[in-house]
């Protein structure tokens, strides 16, 4: 199982801050995004053509990074702090 978090405008648009997904083997973030899309309904267009930023276990990563069971993944728009 992996915990998937959403923040900012993405969280608001999806009306979802957290999702738990069952995965049986490691996959990269592109594959994970496809898994999320496959849930259908509002998830079928969840990225709306704009790839969000991503973090695995609270560290920003690229989309070729691997996710394994037990990881925490977060997707979010470009940050606007400061």
């Amino acid at each position: 199982m992996i915990r998937v978090l959403f923040f900012g405008k993405l969280r608001e648009r999806l009306h979802c801050s957290e999702l738990n997904l069952a995965i049986e083997q490691p996959l990269n973030l592109n594959e994970l995004c496809e898994c999320i899309t496959q849930q259908g309904g509002k998830w079928s267009q969840w990225m709306q053509g704009n790839k969000p930023l991503a973090a695995i276990n609270q560290t920003m990563v690229s989309f070729d990074s691997q996710v394994k069971p037990g990881d925490e993944v977060a997707f979010f728009p470009p940050v606007t702090g400061g």
Binding site: L5, F7, G8, K9, R11, E12, A55, Q58, T59, M60, E72, A74, F76, P77, P78, V79, T80, G81, G82
Partner: protein
């Protein structure tokens, strides 16, 4: 190194005092404070809400401060970032740096703010007279980090 993500306000004088206390080798203190301003992209702002990724924010800010300390000869570093709802003119962020000489302190303070704007997981939502809207990332902030490329 003091890193804090907090809802409550901070006192600049207290933070300045903490940076300079027992700091006999530092000849320079540089600080920056970011505020909620009244106009952004043509809209009147009534308030600002800061959302963040709780498990990641302090980790990201600590990494930025550590990078600054590896790059410049610094004494103390303080980074404070507020979250939650803030009114106009309220303080959002504080960065304070000490060093032996002023050049390192000025550069490190700017560096920390530039990296924070690009890498720290906070998102601003403005409440305006015409409704709410999420602040969009400004490419100027990405361009600002280029000055630090070696």
């Amino acid at each position: 190194m003091k890193i804090s993500v907090q809802a409550h306000n901070f006192n600049i004088a207290d933070e300045h005092r903490a940076l300079t206390k027992s700091c006999t080798s530092s000849g320079a203190v540089v600080t920056f404070t970011g505020l909620v301003r009244d106009l952004n992209q043509g809209n009147q702002i009534q308030s600002l809400t800061l959302e963040h990724y709780p498990a990641m924010t302090e980790k990201a800010l600590t990494a930025i401060a550590t990078t600054a300390k590896q790059r410049w000869p610094l004494g103390k570093i303080t980074i404070i970032h507020r979250i939650g709802q803030l009114a106009l003119t309220e303080q959002i962020v504080f960065v304070g740096v000490t060093s032996r000489h002023r050049e390192a302190a000025f550069d490190a303070c700017q560096f920390i703010m530039d990296l924070l704007k690009n890498h720290a997981p906070f998102w601003k939502k403005e409440t305006t007279s015409t409704g709410e809207r999420w602040v969009e990332f400004n490419d100027k902030d990405k361009q600002a980090t280029k000055r630090w490329e070696k």
